[in-house]
């Protein structure tokens, strides 16, 4: 036990890090810099926020949708009833629709998550909220008692009739065998216009509603919401990922993600999202491996911007 163990400290060596500094010294006050930095940045942030503000667009809700575009609302509610909407056929994580989902080669990455947020569009978006009313419509029991084929026949016929009606107006639909569908969708429209549907669809049971998944899915199935996004340059094919509403600066650092969606071969593909993520992952790996890639690692020699950044050092050499 008397043997002194060998020192493993780097201080024991006479390397450059353990030698005393012999160059010039000057005072440096970290607290002063921190205080000045916080105050200057704080004044700038508060001042610029006060002058320019940030976009404060009113939220798009089921109420505002039903009020502004009732025909689109009814057409979308019919698609939700018939299981033909985008959400109904989306697959994971909402339902088990076969042969859908974004694939990368043979791997269906979307379906790997499984159904984490099960959604039956007819029940969750239409019949469920209607049944919560004090006086649910009579049509609800007719719908519930009907066979699946019968329901599909009604919704299909009503969808066709809505398409042919002037301005797709539900009140001008030709007479036909639509079963309880018109009564259900018009009741849902009235419920939405009163503002009761937003809370009923979210229906978390608590005082506050924080989960807008169902409302946004329902909104996204219609044409109104997409139209608003299109008008504000917020859709994927308009570089929307890096835009804000109005002239407020958006997420310009997402330019490369947005760029790939503008390339027709990528942006037009059915699995565009997974392709873009894959490309960005590949580029990130390449960036990490730049020191090992011949050609790429030589670019600073061809374009020596670093010599401008550290021009004092290169002058002295």
């Amino acid at each position: 036990m008397s043997k002194i163990p060998a020192s493993v400290s780097w201080r024991s060596k006479d390397d450059i890090a353990s030698r005393a500094w012999t160059g010039k010294k000057r005072e440096y006050d970290l607290f002063k810099e921190l205080t000045v930095g916080v105050i200057v940045v704080g004044v700038l942030v508060v001042g610029l926020s006060a002058v320019f503000s940030s976009p404060d667009e009113p939220s798009v809700t089921l109420k505002s949708w039903a009020t502004a575009a009732p025909a689109d609302f009814v057409a979308t509610a019919t698609a939700e009833l018939g299981g033909t909407s985008g959400t109904a056929g989306y697959g994971a994580p909402y339902n088990n629709t076969p042969d859908v989902g974004q694939k990368l080669g043979p791997i269906n990455l979307q379906s790997l998550s499984g159904v984490q947020i099960p959604i039956d569009t007819a029940v969750d978006f239409v019949t469920g909220p209607l049944s919560l009313q004090a006086n649910p419509p009579q049509a609800l029991s007719t719908w519930t008692a009907a066979a699946t084929d019968q329901r599909a026949s009604w919704t299909s016929a009503y969808t066709d009739a809505l398409t042919k009606a002037p301005n797709n107006d539900p009140t001008q639909v030709a007479v036909g065998d639509y079963g309880p569908v018109p009564a259900l969708t018009s009741s849902l429209l009235a419920m939405a216009q009163q503002g009761a549907l937003d809370g009923a669809i979210q229906g978390e049971g608590g005082f506050f509603n924080l989960d807008y998944t169902r409302s946004i899915l329902f909104l996204g199935d219609g044409a109104y919401f997409v139209g608003l996004a299109d008008g504000a340059h917020l859709t994927g094919d308009q570089w929307g990922m890096m835009n804000e509403t109005g002239n407020y600066p958006g997420q310009s650092w997402l330019w490369l993600f947005s760029f790939w969606y503008q390339v027709p071969v990528v942006g037009g593909a059915a699995n565009a999202d997974i392709l873009v993520v894959g490309i960005m992952l590949l580029l990130t790996v390449l960036l990490g491996l730049v020191p090992f890639i011949p050609g790429l690692r030589t670019i600073p020699r061809w374009i020596p911007i670093h010599r401008l950044v550290w021009k004092d050092y290169y002058k002295r050499r």
């Binding site: 010039k24 009113p58 509603n209 608003l228 002239n247 911007i305």
Partner: protein, 55 residues
């Protein structure tokens, strides 16, 4: 259940966009990118304050 009072969002503004073909850039983003590039060039060109004293 709390329902927020909301108005119809008919006044979402599209903003001013510049573009050629499929390339479209919003004026706010364009200004931010130009300012970033100008600051980068200035940082290269302007002498670092205090350099004379530290030499």
């Amino acid at each position: 259940m709390v329902n927020t009072i909301l108005s119809i969002p008919s006044d979402i503004t599209g903003g001013t966009y510049f573009g050629w073909g499929s390339f479209q850039i919003q004026s706010g983003n364009l200004i931010v990118i130009i300012v970033m590039l100008v600051l980068f060039v200035l940082a290269l060109v302007l002498p670092f304050p205090g350099n004379k004293r530290s030499k």
